[in-house]
Subunit: 311 residues, 2 copies
């Protein structure tokens, strides 16, 4: 389906139930919120399907659009690659999928897929331009949430010229990016900052900072007051050290087991190292879980990585 | 002077010495480096005036353009608002100033000032487009350094649609933004991360995280191995707490005095608080230096802020 065809479809139908994906992120929520707002501007009935996993971080953005029903006349999924990702509690058939994942399985009756886009928000922007000329301020804010979170505020590898042009367009349509950037990228829970503090103040570094190790214990979780919600992206902290090539993060799980994540620049094969401990993954990012003490697994991983270090 | 007039000027002269400002940042260095490269492509002699304050962070970007001479036939300053900001060791007259600071004092014989631009890099981009059609890859990288650092990778308040459009243009001209973003925004010295770790793991928070206090002692500096180079922006760390309205940072100076920075959302007047301790500044950002122990000044500031808290 093209954007023009999809816009015609949206004009022709009514009674929209919009689905966001499991473990919803800024892109699925911002895109669905903006689409819902635009459909209402078109005079349509539209709401978001309840998604019990929406976190505090994003709730206020989508609260005005959240419905109570899990069904509708026209069910549209936003930023969803496959039915496994339906929000908890939803069963049914999807009429239209709007997505940017190359892995989309074409599970819906109709699909608008633009796999070259950094975010689903950019596709919804094009749809709204086709339907209504331009997003209004509310939609521009929501689409900025979608776009900026999916490309790590223009830092991640998926950031391209089109992503920057979409941001420029949203600003021109009235997106207030200063408070959004502060909320989304410069603001962290107190518990998260305390936990990061403990991790960084105990960081271990070898080989002129090319090899870095972070250990996260249950004791640190307790002392900082951090919950699972505060643990996004912990495996990337050790890799922030200037000069880092291999970052090891070992975390004590609630059941006492040790879970390790290995991130490398490719010089050391992360899959091979983690295979030694019964784990696996990709060459540059792998993991393993072992029923042992975190410090013991950390020492063993350091030894294995050092043994595999390219001379 | 317009961009077209400035381009004509650059075509008509030769023997360029490019000045970067005191305490050089990414914008002055990236802009001057890109302009130097473009002038050389035009067949001109051009180099950057030595600037002893260039930090490790930026040295590799500008090393190919750094000259040894502090004089030239045509002296051009880049991103410089006034002669006070000449790089250390330079004396002389500036023929042409290329700048974006509204405070520019028109100290040069000729001035190309575009005060509406988020970065000086965007002005140099327009100049290069006028002179050579488009920046080459090297210039695109250098201009991305200028632009992205001056707007905090598109997070600061000066980020506008034009800044995003300039980024899009630079990517289309071959800027390799993924490694640049990693180096500039996701990579920190080990000592800096250790210091941040100590600061966050001792962060004090009151009033449901609306009031936050960070204390930085000489002991923490010693233990982390941090130097002045690692201390950029320390006053903004406490303000990262979600819900923060007033952030206090108290730092023990090398001479044992206590220096405090106060950042507020305007609800508490930072100038009035700091005036109590002989300091000053703006309503939302002020400072003071007191010959006392850091912990004593911290306690006094907490008391003063609490007394001024709006009910």
């Amino acid at each position: 389906m093209t954007v023009t065809e999809c816009a015609a479809y949206l004009r022709a139908h009514d009674g929209y139930l919009l689905l966001t994906h499991k473990s919803p992120d800024g892109d699925t929520l911002g895109s669905a919120g903006a689409l819902c707002h635009a459909l209402r501007r078109l005079g349509k009935r539209a709401s978001l399907c309840p998604n019990p996993e929406i976190t505090e971080r994003y709730l206020s953005y989508v609260a005005p659009y959240l419905g109570e029903s899990r069904t509708g006349e026209t069910i549209v999924s936003v930023d969803m690659a496959e039915p496994k990702l339906y929000p908890k509690g939803f069963t049914g058939a999807v009429a239209l999928a709007i997505d940017h994942h190359p892995s989309n399985t074409f599970f819906a009756e109709q699909t608008l897929l633009k796999a070259e886009k950094a975010s689903c928000g950019e596709i919804v922007l094009e749809l709204i331009e086709e339907l209504l000329g331009a997003p209004d301020r509310t939609e521009a804010d929501l689409l900025y949430v979608a776009l900026s979170t999916d490309c790590g505020c223009f830092q991640y590898g998926n950031t391209d010229a089109a992503a920057h042009r979409a941001a420029a367009r949203l600003i021109e349509c009235g997106a207030e990016i200063a408070p959004l950037n502060k909320e989304l990228f410069r603001s962290f829970s107190f518990a998260r900052l305390r936990l990061e503090g403990m991790i960084f103040s105990t960081l271990h570094s070898e080989r002129d900072h090319q090899l870095n190790l972070a250990v996260v214990t249950r004791e640190m979780m307790r002392e900082s007051g951090a919950t699972e919600d505060d643990c996004d992206d912990l495996a990337n902290l050790a890799g922030k050290v200037a000069g880092n090539r291999v970052a090891i993060t070992v975390r004590e799980e609630p059941d006492g087991k040790a879970h390790a994540s290995l991130r490398t620049d490719g010089s050391v094969n992360a899959t091979e190292i983690c295979a030694l401990f019964g784990g696996g993954g990709h060459k540059m990012a792998s993991g393993c879980t072992v029923d042992t003490d975190v410090h013991i697994l950390a020492a063993q991983l350091l030894e294995a990585v050092n043994a595999a270090w390219p001379e």
